[in-house]
């Protein structure tokens, strides 16, 4: 196996390790807990972390360990599903636009420009207000507002590939449109698309947390990292641990995914093999920057 595939990149390894640990905590350990996420016990409200309640309890006496684990599950589910929706819509839209070219491309791209000019959160909030609250609504709201980036990347890739000799050669051997797109273009786009996916997942986690924080997330008593942070924030001066745990897990998740995304990006820009030059010249994907993200989206 060539050196390239050995996953030498420490960033990717570290990122994967962090995600794995958080996933083990959320998916494997949480169900083993003796408490459920909605079970209230007012006698034990606002307990500090102890052997009985590892992360303490909240103001209604619910076990915070279970709630953080459950919230992580919700956040991960929402983020991954939303990123997959972004990926699907964006890739199809961008590929069509780039492949057809001409007037169709122009119209489709101007439509995206208009979408970009509408504040992203406004659109998401509007969708959340119209639809009943829940995980599905969050997924739709984040997925349907985040795809234009992916569409632009897919379009650029297709336009680049369209002018290359092998594309002409494939046309020349009589390959149909579907075969050209799915057989010849998509395999070459996969790398860039997946590295973009590893950057849209943390962006989606962040959007979910933000929407939950301002009260547009999953309904009570369900929990997500954003709503837990919001609850913890209200009692922060008295019980800082209630804010600390969900915020810590959120940070870990963002860090892990961003590490993987950055690592993949830098892997692609390395020319280890001759054939990799194709991928090296591809446009850099949007990198995830939480601070710029907030100001942009507001």
């Amino acid at each position: 196996m060539p050196e390239y595939y050995k996953l030498k990149n420490r960033k990717i390894l570290l990122g994967s390790l962090i995600i794995l640990l958080v996933a083990i905590f959320a998916i494997l350990l949480t169900p083993l807990s003796a408490y459920s996420y909605h079970e209230q016990n007012l006698e034990q409200a606002n307990m500090r972390p102890s052997a009985e309640h590892w992360f303490g309890t909240d103001r209604l006496g619910r076990d915070l360990f279970t709630r953080v684990g459950y919230g992580t599950q919700t956040s991960l589910l929402v983020a991954i599903a939303a990123a997959l929706i972004e990926l699907t819509i964006g890739t199809i839209y961008g590929t069509l636009s780039g492949y057809l070219g001409g007037l169709v491309d122009e119209i489709l791209m101007r439509a995206i420009d208009i979408l970009f000019s509408i504040p992203y959160l406004l659109l998401a909030i509007l969708l959340l207000v119209l639809l009943p609250p829940g995980k599905g609504t969050l997924i739709l709201a984040i997925g349907f507002t985040g795809w234009p980036h992916m569409a632009r990347i897919a379009r650029i890739l297709v336009i680049r590939l369209k002018t290359q000799d092998f594309f002409l050669a494939a046309r020349c051997y009589g390959a149909g449109h579907l075969r050209l797109i799915c057989g010849h273009m998509l395999p070459q786009m996969l790398k860039a698309i997946f590295s973009q996916l590893t950057l849209s997942i943390p962006a989606a986690i962040y959007s979910e947390a933000f929407l939950s924080f301002i009260g547009l997330g999953v309904p009570m008593p369900q929990a997500s990292l954003g709503s837990l942070i919001q609850e913890g924030f209200t009692v922060f001066p008295l019980y800082p641990y209630q804010l600390f745990y969900p915020a810590f897990v959120l940070s870990l998740l963002l860090l892990g995914f961003t590490f993987i995304g950055d690592g993949l990006q830098s892997l692609y820009s390395r020319k280890l093999l001759k054939g990799e030059e194709y991928f090296a010249a591809q446009p850099p994907a949007r990198s995830f920057q939480p601070t710029g993200f907030i100001s942009y989206k507001n």
Binding site: G101, G102, Q164, D165, F166, L168, A169, A170, R171, C172, Y173, G174, A175, G176, R179, G183, H184, P187, Q188, L273, K274, G275, Y278
Partner: protein, 264 residues
């Protein structure tokens, strides 16, 4: 002369629109290619050789504007349906490119790219498809181990052989080779030319060969057409043109080779 030509191009004019300007690449050319014949195009860069070749299989870029007609087996390529054109390409007309390494898809194995043409034009599947692919690889002088290699792991000569295998997979009536050997060193060039010669005799396709190299033309072609600024300035059998060129440009072109003492 044979009664009906395989490919008949009459008064072909092509211009490229670049922003507001229009550049004439071909200014009315006529030629025909008969079955089992090898015709060579030569001439300087930008004289319209490649444009003429691309026009012969309907692969001109989107900004090209075309007048005149290209008839393949009596069918006008620019008035048939897209579906028919897709069928014609590969099965009727195949194309070999100048730079084989960029003409192969870098993320598909060599075998897959050849098999794709076999599947598309002969409807082969499964075991038979594998057998035919192996047969083609043998024919073009590649090892079986090359079937699972990716293009970047192969040399230029090996890639060109794969292109030739893919071209022959559709069993075409016409093969257009656009400077098939200009990126290869002399020994590999010799091998590839010998291969083309052998396959042409075996498959009995007509070959439209584009080349700068007059030695290559002298070796393979029966007839030659010399291009200059979008026109065919001289056309005839290789012997006739090479021995007694009439057009001043043709004279100059041939003089370059004679000076070096190479070629006939």
């Amino acid at each position: 002369m044979l009664p009906s030509p395989l490919l008949e191009v009459s008064n072909l004019q092509v211009s490229y629109h670049i922003r507001t300007k229009s550049v004439k690449a071909l200014r009315g050319i006529n030629f025909s290619l008969f079955e089992n014949e090898i015709l060579a195009f030569t001439g300087e860069s930008g004289s319209g050789k490649t444009t003429a070749a691309l026009a012969c299989c309907g692969l001109l870029p989107a900004n090209a504007h075309l007048k005149g007609s290209v008839r393949f087996k009596g069918v006008d390529l620019y008035s048939v349906s897209v579906k028919k054109l897709h069928q014609l390409r590969g099965k009727g007309i195949a194309f070999i490119f100048q730079d084989p390494q960029s003409a192969l898809n870098p993320v598909l194995t060599a075998g897959k790219q050849v098999a794709e043409v076999l599947h598309r034009h002969r409807g082969l599947r499964g075991q038979i498809l594998m057998q035919e692919t192996r047969k083609l690889f043998r024919q073009v002088g590649l090892k079986h181990s090359h079937i699972t290699s990716y293009p970047f792991a192969l040399s230029g000569g090996e890639c060109q052989r794969i292109m030739i295998a893919a071209a022959c997979a559709g069993n075409p009536a016409l093969l257009i080779a656009d400077e098939p050997t200009s990126n290869l060193d002399l020994i590999v060039e010799n091998e590839v030319l010998a291969l083309l010669e052998k396959l042409q005799k075996g498959y009995r396709f007509s070959l439209l060969l584009i080349s700068h190299d007059l030695r290559v033309i002298a070796r393979l072609a029966q007839r030659v057409a010399i291009f200059n600024s979008g026109l065919i300035v001289e056309e005839g059998t290789v012997e006739q043109v090479f021995k007694s060129p009439r057009h001043p440009y043709a004279k100059r072109l041939l003089a370059t080779v004679l000076h070096k003492g190479a070629g006939e």
